[in-house]
Structure formats: C-alpha cells, structure tokens
C-alpha cells in the first residue's frame, strides 16, 4: 500500500517537473505562484501545525528573504545565490533575536505579537534608504520562467521532505509534545525554548527562500507587498484547509485554493476577493480541521461530518 503511494507521488513529481515543457506560459506562471504558496504553507506548518504556535509573522521572513535578494542584487550587484543566502541569514537572525521573547507568549498573544512584528518591520523597512524606502526596489529582469519553476518545485520538495523528517525525528516529536502539552513536555525534559526557536527559524528559512525567489521572479518589491499580512493569512488558510500537522496537507490545500483563486481572478475579477473571504469563513465553520480530516472522517460520517463540526464548536 505504501509502495503504491510512493509511486503515485513520484509520478506526480515527474509530471510537475516536466510541466514547463508541455504547459503554456500562463500555466507555468500559475505553477510558480502555487508552488511558492505551497512552500509558504509548508513552512508555516512547521511552527503552526506541528509546534502549535500560530504565527502571523511568517510574512516577516518572507519579506526579509525578498529584501535580502533585492538588496544584494540591486545595491551590491551580487548574484542571486548570494542574495538568497543573505535573506536566509536575515531570517535566522530575526528568528533568534525576536523569536525568543515572542515565543514566551501563549495562544492568541503570540499571534498578535507576530502580527505586530510584521507591521513594525514594514514600517521600519519603509524608512531604510538601502531598501529603497517605501518605493521599493526594481530587480534586474530575468526572462526564464522555467528556472523559477524548477527552483520553486525543488524548494517545495525540500520543505516537504523536511516536514516528513520531522514526523520521524526526536525534534519533531518534541515539537508535537510542545503542541499538545507544553508544560508536560518541559517536565519530560524537552528544552521547549530551544525547540520552539529552532522550529521558528526552520519555518523562517523556507519562507525566506520562497520570498527571495518570488522577488526575483516578479522583479519588484515594496514594503507593503513584501510584508503583506493577507499573504500570511493565505498561507495559514492553505495549511489549515489542507490539514495542519500533516505532511502533504498544506501542499494539497495550497494547490486546491490557488486553483480556485486563479480561476476566479481571471474570470470574475470583481468578486475574486469576496470569494476569498467567503471561503475562509466557510472553511473555518464547516471544516476547521482541514481536507485531510474531511477525507478521513467522511467515510464514517458522510455529510453529517460538517454538521458535527459545527455542533462541536458552537456555543
């Protein structure tokens, strides 16, 4: 059974990797966008899904990665690889410096604190001349969508493998222990502070890399788009929709929601944004545990699954 799954996944990967050769320009564009969103969702999964700390500050890592690449390439004329490395360094430094105090907060205070951090970063960066202040930076254009596509796919594979490794490693078990009962985990000898910060940093690294690729691809960034809170919410929704705390859940969530969103953006633009909001509301009410859970329980509960969810959570 497991071998069958493995073969299917490998086939899917091959099909995805070969897309730039048989897909149209627009499909490749959509592909890059979706793959990057999947990376973001997967990155969030590490801190939010496995560790149980719902971060609204992943957009900071995204922005740092993007600015890392932009500043390196535009202001210092360094190649893309250096820019990515620089972005990762910024992300890790941030994760340690601000992660430690902020990860001491519980529940929604942590969420709010990370949200505030995103706002502060956007405000600070819009005052830094090196970053182009509020105007942002325009990167040198590179017309090679195939490269960006394969890079994004590679990053997603890396992120998913990392999450898979998490499910089998002591580190991962420690994170899950923290999520389920932090005090208990501490009593059992888990160094909760270290684990949490490491998870935050790991989550940040993938997010920053995705931000860097996106910046180079779209050739433009400014504080508002780099530290966009609604992007953070998107990655959370995708991870939650697909199934937080699972290996493939965020990927599925990202693919499905992206597809729906793209179709709407190009067909019925005026209500695309409205749809996003409605989907969020509906998903939270009807299937708060994500698609993975729906699939698992649908067989036993059928359509009553949704009603059960509501009954379990309502006042």
């Amino acid at each position: 059974m497991k071998a069958l799954w493995l073969i299917l996944i490998l086939l899917a990967l091959v099909a995805l990797a070969a897309l730039p050769w048989y897909g149209s320009d627009v499909v490749i564009q959509f592909g890059i966008s979706t793959l990057l969103l999947a990376v973001l969702a997967q990155g969030w999964n590490i801190i939010g899904g496995y560790t149980g700390y719902a971060s609204f500050g992943n957009s900071v890592f995204y922005g740092l990665g993007a600015y890392g690449v932009a500043i390196a390439m535009v202001q210092w004329n360094l190649p893309f690889g250096f820019g990515m490395a620089f972005g990762v360094v910024l992300a890790v430094v941030f994760a340690f410096l601000l992660g430690i105090p902020v990860l001491r907060l519980k529940g929604h205070y942590f969420a709010i604190a990370t949200l505030a951090l995103a706002q502060v970063m956007a405000a600070i960066v819009s005052n830094i001349p090196l970053a182009g202040q509020n105007i942002g930076l325009v990167l040198p254009p590179l017309n090679n969508d195939r490269l960006f596509y394969e890079l994004s796919l590679g990053l997603l594979v890396l992120a998913t493998l990392t999450v898979f490794w998490l499910t089998r490693s002591k580190f991962g078990f420690g994170l899950i222990a923290i999520r389920e009962n932090e005090e208990g985990a501490a009593v059992m000898g888990v160094n909760t502070t270290l684990y949490k910060v490491l998870a935050f940093a790991l989550s940040g690294i993938f997010t920053a890399l995705a931000g860097g690729i996106h910046a180079y691809w779209i050739t433009f960034l400014d504080p508002e788009s780099a530290f966009d809170i609604s992007l953070n919410v998107k990655m959370i929704i995708m991870a939650v929709f697909g199934g937080p705390g699972t290996v493939l859940g965020p990927v599925v969530g990202a693919f499905v929601l992206s597809a729906i969103s793209e179709v709407l953006s190009s067909e019925v633009t005026s209500i695309a944004g409205l749809f996003f909001g409605v989907v969020v509301v509906a998903a939270v009410v009807l299937m708060p545990r994500g698609i993975a859970d729906v699939i698992r329980r649908f067989r036993t509960s059928g359509w009553r699954y949704f009603a059960e969810n509501i009954k379990a959570h309502r006042l």
Binding site: S126, Q133, N134, I135, G136, N143, I218, T219, S225, T269
Partner: protein
C-alpha cells in the same frame, strides 16, 4: 433515430456552410490593460477604463485604424488589478501570453507603471501608459514603455515660477510629500527649482502614504510661519490635510497640491473649503486643442460628461491620448508588428485633444503644467508657460475671515 441523425447532419452542414460562407471578418486589434477598478486607487483608476473605452469607441465609430490597406477596429481587454501591484504584474503577463493582445495600455499610478513596464520590456511589446509620471519609470533604459503624463520632477515647475511673481513675495516654503515613487520624484525635482528661485525650504517632510492624521505636520507649519506649502500626495491625504488645516486654524499665504484640485469629486467633497487651493494640470478642456477624432478638447469634455456623468480631468485625457498614440503609430507603421509599432510610437508628433503627443528619448512626454486655483468653488487657470492667465486669489485669508 435516422430522422434525428438527418436533422443533426443537416444542422452540421448548415453550420459548416455558415462558417465558410460568411465573409472573413478582419481580426480586431486588441489593446490590453490592467487597471485599478476596485481597491484604494479605484476612484482614479476608473477614469482610465472610461477613457480607454471612450477613445476606442470613437475611433471605431470613425472607421477604425488603417493597417496597410485594410480598416481594422480596436478592442479593449481590461482586467481589474484590485489596486494590487503584484496582481497587476501577473495580469499583464496573462494579457501577453494567454490572451495574446496586440499592444498594451497602462495602469494608473507610478508604482504600478514601474512594475508593469518590466513585463512589457521582458516580452518586448510596447506599452503606452498615461498614469505614471515618476522619473524612475523612464530612467532604466527600457525601450518599450511610453508615458503621456508629464515628468513628476517638473510638476511644481510653473507653480514655483508663479511664486516668484506674487506679491507679497513668499520666502519660506514647506515641502511635504508622501513616500511613494511619484511623490518622492516630485519632491526631488522641486527642491532645486525652489533653490534656484531663491525660496527657503523651511520644512522638508516625507510622510507615510495613506496617512490620515496631519495635525502634527500642520502644527509645525504654523509654528514655522511658512508662507507657501507644497504638498505632493494622494487625494485622500490632501482631503484630510485641508480639513485638518481648517480645524487647526492653519492658513499659510498659499498652498498647492499635486492632485485633487482638478477633480470635481474632490472639490465637491470639500465644498467651500476647497477655495484658494492651488493645483496644476497639464490639460484643460480648451477649444484650442484640436483632435482628429473628437473635434477639440472642449467638445470631448462635453461628450465625455454626457456619456459618463462626470467631468473628465487630465487623467481621462491622458488615457485617451494613449489610445490615440497607439492608433496613429499603427497607421504610421502600417502593421501591428511590435517592433515596427514601437519605433513608430517613438517618432510620433501629432496634435490631439491632450496637446502635442511626442515622446522624448526616454519615452516620456514633456508638457508644461498650468497652475490652477479653486476660486468660488470653480476651477480657474491662473498661470501657464506664458505668464498669468487670470489673477490668483492671494494671499489666502485666515479661515474665520473667509
């Protein structure tokens, strides 16, 4: 069963005959654009949608565009970028690679034009935009971007010139500007102009775009006793600025704004409080501006108002100019080939309701700004390249003395 087959076969035959029997229609020339129809810049963005459609309809009405020896019609493919730059960029890629439009029209706002022109350059397809004036757009050596808005750096050009001729002559000036591409460009260009005119820059403040509270800045202006205030910002900010100036009793001798004043909505929202405000426009609906398709600018303004219910300002005229530029270029090139049209656009020089359309080396038009002022809730041109047109109401009285 066989009867159904016969009917079906008959229908198929008819369809085939129809398809091949009908005269071949010339394919429309499609112009693509991604414009702000919703979102925070939509109140100006929609001027471009209306202008583009109006111009295309008028040109088609008069026979369309002559390509070689065929007359072809223009068509518009418009997307709403929801005032989101990222979405705008992706929509331009879609216009080029999926919808395969022939040529591109631009978005509103400099930061959009800055990002979207990277796409027109990447795919080597000409874009004529009338919404971005920031010098940054045109200083990258790009060959496929053209702009019909006058350079941002010179927006206050005629205003500063006028300041030197006012009596009592202002000496201390406050320069306030929002932190986006366009307004930063304006400020950068205005500083040397002020210095050359011998005016002192008593305050030089960059503020956050979309700020709603100007009380601190206004208090500083009052404290520094400045004579003139120049503000480069967005309509919503300027609206707040004026209202808060009134409530804080701040009345410099004059104040001038880069946007808002030419727009009827803006003046209506402020009512009498809009009086005395200076602004600038590169376009006025004057009958002296003759146009091949619309007659002249005054006639255009009348027809536009009749169709859309609001008076066109320079944004709308600029949008029309973009379409006309493309039409003229196609006719001059005799084809819709991207390279040929691009070269034709670069060589354009023709009169239109917007003024003379001719692009500089860097792709940007150069038009002089006319200083305008709101007097008794009406828009009055007061100063242009030839000097005073009407007498400006100067200095501005205190708020309680109006």
């Amino acid at each position: 069963m066989s009867r159904a087959m016969t009917r079906f076969g008959g229908a198929l035959l008819c369809a085939a005959l129809t398809a091949y029997g009908l005269p071949a229609f010339a394919k429309d020339i499609v112009l693509g654009a991604s414009v702000q129809l919703t979102g925070s810049s939509a109140n100006t963005g929609r001027y471009y949608r209306d202008a583009y459609q109006f111009a295309i309809d008028k040109i088609n009405e008069k026979g369309g565009v002559k390509v070689g020896d065929k007359q072809e019609k223009l068509a518009l493919k418009l997307y709403d970028n929801q005032s989101n730059v990222n979405l705008s960029v992706r929509q331009y890629v879609q216009l080029v690679s999926q919808d395969k439009v022939d040529l591109l029209l631009g978005p509103f706002a400099s930061n959009f034009a800055l990002a979207d022109s990277a796409i027109s350059e990447k795919y080597k397809i000409p874009m004529v935009q009338g919404g971005g004036a920031s010098d940054q757009i045109f200083s990258r050596g790009f060959k496929y971007i053209f702009g019909t808005l006058a350079p941002a750096s010179n927006y206050f050009g005629s205003t500063v010139e006028m300041l030197t001729k006012l009596d009592p002559k202002p000496s201390k000036v406050a320069l306030l500007y929002a932190d986006d591409a366009f307004d930063v460009s304006v400020a950068k260009g205005t500083r040397p102009l002020l210095k050359k005119a011998g005016l002192t820059i008593a305050m030089d403040e960059r503020y956050t775009s979309n700020a709603s509270d100007f009380n601190s800045l206004l208090s500083q202006i009052k404290n520094a006793n400045v004579d003139a205030v120049l503000v480069a910002g967005h309509e919503t900010e300027i609206l707040n600025f004026i209202r808060q100036a009134k409530s804080l009793a701040v009345a410099p001798k004059m104040y001038s704004f880069t946007v808002g004043v030419p727009s009827a909505d803006f003046r209506k929202a402020l009512g009498k409080d809009a009086d005395y405000a200076f602004g600038m426009t590169a376009w006025l609906p004057s009958p002296k501006l003759k146009d091949k398709w619309f007659g002249d600018a005054a006639q255009f303004a009348k027809d536009y108002k009749a169709k859309f219910g609001y008076d066109p300002d320079y944004h709308a005229a600029s949008g029309v100019a973009d379409v006309e530029a493309i039409a003229e270029a196609i006719e001059a090139a005799g084809s819709t080939d991207h390279q040929k049209v691009r070269d034709a656009i670069a060589k354009l020089n023709f009169p239109s309701l917007y003024g003379t359309i001719a692009f500089g080396e860097n792709g940007q038009i150069d038009l002089a700004q006319t200083v305008i002022q709101v007097q008794d809730e009406k828009l009055v041109p007061v100063y242009d390249a030839n000097g005073f047109v009407e007498k400006p109401k100067y200095p501005m009285p205190a708020w309680n003395a109006r």
